[in-house]
């Protein structure tokens, strides 16, 4: 066999059978489940009288609907409560391992999978959630699926799919001060567009990527879906292996050594062919801020809001005009003059310990600006929260005027009570700035944790790459 990409290796290791038209039956190793996209799948299973194929492959957690305050009182919204209770009862009935709301291990599904070592290199990982691409940071083939496919995996441990094309995004060099994995992700999306990766699995490679921590790699792979790619992935190396050692679901003893030997083969071979290659120079990437209602509507913090009149493509121009109306912004306005009302530090993109440390370092000894009505920090899991508290990060945030909350998806998608009011403008470390995403009429600017914390302190965007 010739030189293979990482994606080729992961794909080939999971093909159960292949149809004449190229559709393959792919075996799934890990199935993560949350309360929003699973009830109809469990119901379908029940109606058809089917069983779970491999119960031990499933790890379940409620994250989208859970409150981030007053958890001891339970969930006030009866519809949300029913959905979480439905997950609890389905998991109890089928014997599925679930971290319940008040378990310290509870958190955002894409934070807890890696944290527990439930995501391992070489695995196929699926979840009824588009940000499943996150787990590709561990040299896993990980992608989001719909509820029908959730049911399909529950019943058969397999999925029917066609192989995607392979794209390599190579980033070389050292990142500048205040520039993070989030900025790489936004810069890539700005370059190729939100549909640039459609039909592809993206592998992130290059010296910049190799120097990222696992947290940074997860941030980057998390946002692959915002570039249109169902899967993002990064080769396994010492950073990957060191992160996993000793985690509860990771292999131990002789099995660990055997696993590590296999994991070290999970990289693209020299000379492997990609269908597309994109190159970025890390030194050219500045802190990014989105200005519109799609993650591709992004500029560097020292830039200006674009002028739709200068856009030649009619569909793009109309899209930009609509976005500026929705966002309440004027063309050519400097990004650093945009004032904010709220700040959200959290989500499956940026709610890990490294993210909280970075935001706390900016907030330490300062206070949020008078025009900032609410700045909230929502840790990605109970264990992240515990770790942050051991490091005193909670005190730094609270002293600076931030609210310190319980873990969950929170205001990334505003399914619970954490949301923007119409017209409110938010600096957010989440992944989507769609209309209404953080609350009806809410205006979202996607940024890194450092940029969000700095905006909270200043009351407007500031360039964290300059002193």
């Amino acid at each position: 066999m010739g030189a293979q990409t990482l994606y080729d290796k992961l794909w080939n290791a999971h093909v159960v059978r292949q149809e004449a038209d190229g559709t393959a039956l792919i075996y799934i190793d890990r199935h993560l489940v949350h309360e929003v996209t699973s009830p109809q799948a469990f119901e379908g299973l029940k109606l058809a009288g089917r069983k779970l194929w491999r119960t031990a492959s499933i790890l379940a957690v409620a994250d989208h609907n859970v409150p981030t305050t007053g958890r001891a009182q339970g969930i006030a919204d009866p519809i949300a409560r029913l959905q979480v209770e439905t997950l609890d009862s389905n998991c109890a009935e089928y014997g599925v391992n679930e971290f319940k709301m008040n378990d310290v291990r509870q958190g955002i599904v894409h934070v807890i999978g890696p944290e527990q070592g439930a995501t391992l290199p070489g695995m196929t990982v699926v979840c009824g959630d588009s940000h499943t691409s996150t787990h590709g940071a561990f040299a896993a083939l990980a992608f989001g699926i719909g509820t029908s496919e959730v049911e399909h995996v529950m019943a058969t441990q397999c999925l029917l799919m066609k192989k995607s094309k392979a794209m390599q995004v190579v980033v070389e060099g050292a990142l500048g001060k205040g520039v993070t994995a989030k900025d790489i992700a936004l810069a890539v999306i700005g370059r190729i567009g939100t549909a640039g990766g459609t039909g592809y699995a993206i592998e992130f490679a290059g010296s910049t990527i190799r120097s990222l921590s696992m947290e940074g790699r997860m941030t980057l792979c998390n946002m692959a879906i915002e570039a249109g790619a169902r899967a993002g992935m990064i080769a396994a190396d010492d950073t990957t292996i060191d992160y996993l050692k000793g985690r509860p679901f990771a292999p131990q003893g002789a099995a660990w050594d055997q696993a590590v030997a296999y994991w070290r083969t999970l990289h693209s071979d020299d000379g492997a062919q990609f269908d597309a290659t994109i190159k970025l120079d890390a030194a050219q990437i500045k802190p990014q801020v989105t200005w519109g209602t799609s993650p591709e509507m992004v500029v560097a913090v020292d830039g200006r809001v674009p002028d739709p009149a200068a856009m030649s493509d009619a569909v793009k121009r109309e899209g930009a005009e609509r976005a500026l109306r929705y966002m309440g912004l004027a063309a050519n306005m400097p990004i650093t003059e945009i004032k904010i009302d709220k700040v959200f530090i959290g989500s499956c993109t940026n709610a890990r310990i490294e993210d909280l440390r970075a935001a706390a370092a900016v907030a330490k000894g300062k206070h949020i600006a008078a025009n900032v009505k609410l700045a909230m920090v929502v840790p990605g899991s109970g264990l992240v929260k515990q770790q942050a508290e051991q490091e005193g990060l909670d005190k730094i945030f609270v002293t600076a005027g931030f609210e310190w909350r319980d873990p969950g998806c929170s205001m990334c998608l505003a399914m619970n009570d954490d949301r923007l009011s119409p017209g409110e403008r938010c600096a957010s470390t989440s992944n989507r700035n769609f209309e209404g995403r953080q609350g009806p009429g809410g205006r979202t600017h996607l940024v890194s944790p450092e940029m969000a914390a700095a905006a909270a302190i200043a009351g407007h965007f500031v360039d964290v790459s300059v002193d």
Binding site: V16, R17, E19, D21, G22, T23, L25, Y27, D29, V36, T37, P39, Q40, A48, H64, I79, L82, Q83, T86, L120, G128, D129, S130, T132, F143, I145, G146, T147, S148, E149, E151, A155, C158, L160, M161, K162, S164, T194, A195, T198, I225, G228, A229, R230, A250, A255, Q258, Y262, S294, V315, K316, E318, G319, L413, M415, R432, F434, E435, G436, P440
Partner: protein, 210 residues
């Protein structure tokens, strides 16, 4: 799943790119544990002037007269004409459920987001990719012609316009077969139980830590 064979349907145009699944069905409706009943809340934030929540009587809400699907000429539309990257964002299958429940059976666009595209086929909804120029021509024709209908023939993989133009489209053989016959994927996969078991045994022997 509903079969899809032939469709002669009224066309409604949604002239904006990057329509995301949050727009197709906002998050508050995702709290439902059912897979039906999402149609009245399809495009909720664009479609109504008031804010929608689960459990509201949608027939009493105020429609946004500027939203294209609220125009009388597009009532009863079964084909949605859309722009680039339709269905991007969240994997929520509630989006195709909402579109199907609203009455759509086919969506024509230059491109679709992968997960949404995949989810459509599981729900008897046919997503059709056509070149941007052809989609553009269809937008012009729809807007100029009240009552504009298209005939979609999945077997022949063709769309026939009233002026006699025929647009051919691509669809993967396996998906086409499932849609034409209304087949349940799980039932099909379970025909291969022995192969899955054999694969699983080999896979777990090679990677016993899994």
């Amino acid at each position: 799943m509903n079969k899809f064979t032939l469709l002669n349907g009224l066309v409604a145009p949604l002239d904006r790119a990057n329509v995301d699944t949050d727009a197709i069905i906002p998050k508050q409706f995702l709290k439902s544990i059912k897979r039906s009943g999402f149609g009245p809340n399809a495009f909720d934030e664009w479609r109504y002037l008031d804010h929608g929540e689960p459990g509201m009587d949608n027939s009493k809400r105020i429609l946004n007269p500027d939203f294209v699907l609220n125009q009388p000429r597009y009532q009863g539309a079964q084909i949605l004409l859309a722009r680039e990257n339709f269905g991007c964002g969240s994997s929520r299958e509630h989006a195709p459920w909402a579109l199907e429940d609203y009455g759509f059976r086919a969506i024509i666009a230059p491109s679709f987001a992968d997960i949404f595209f995949n989810n459509c086929f599981k729900n008897g909804l046919l997503p059709i990719r056509l070149d941007a120029e052809k989609v553009d021509a269809l937008f012009k024709a729809v807007e100029a012609t009240p009552g504009y209908r298209l005939k979609v023939d999945l077997e022949r993989q063709s769309i026939s316009a009233p002026d006699g133009t025929v647009y051919k489209f691509e669809v993967e053989a396996f998906r086409k077969h499932c849609l034409l016959n209304g087949l349940d994927d799980i039932g099909l996969t379970l025909q291969h139980v022995d192969e899955i078991k054999a694969f699983e045994a080999k896979h777990r022997a090679a990677q016993p830590w899994l």
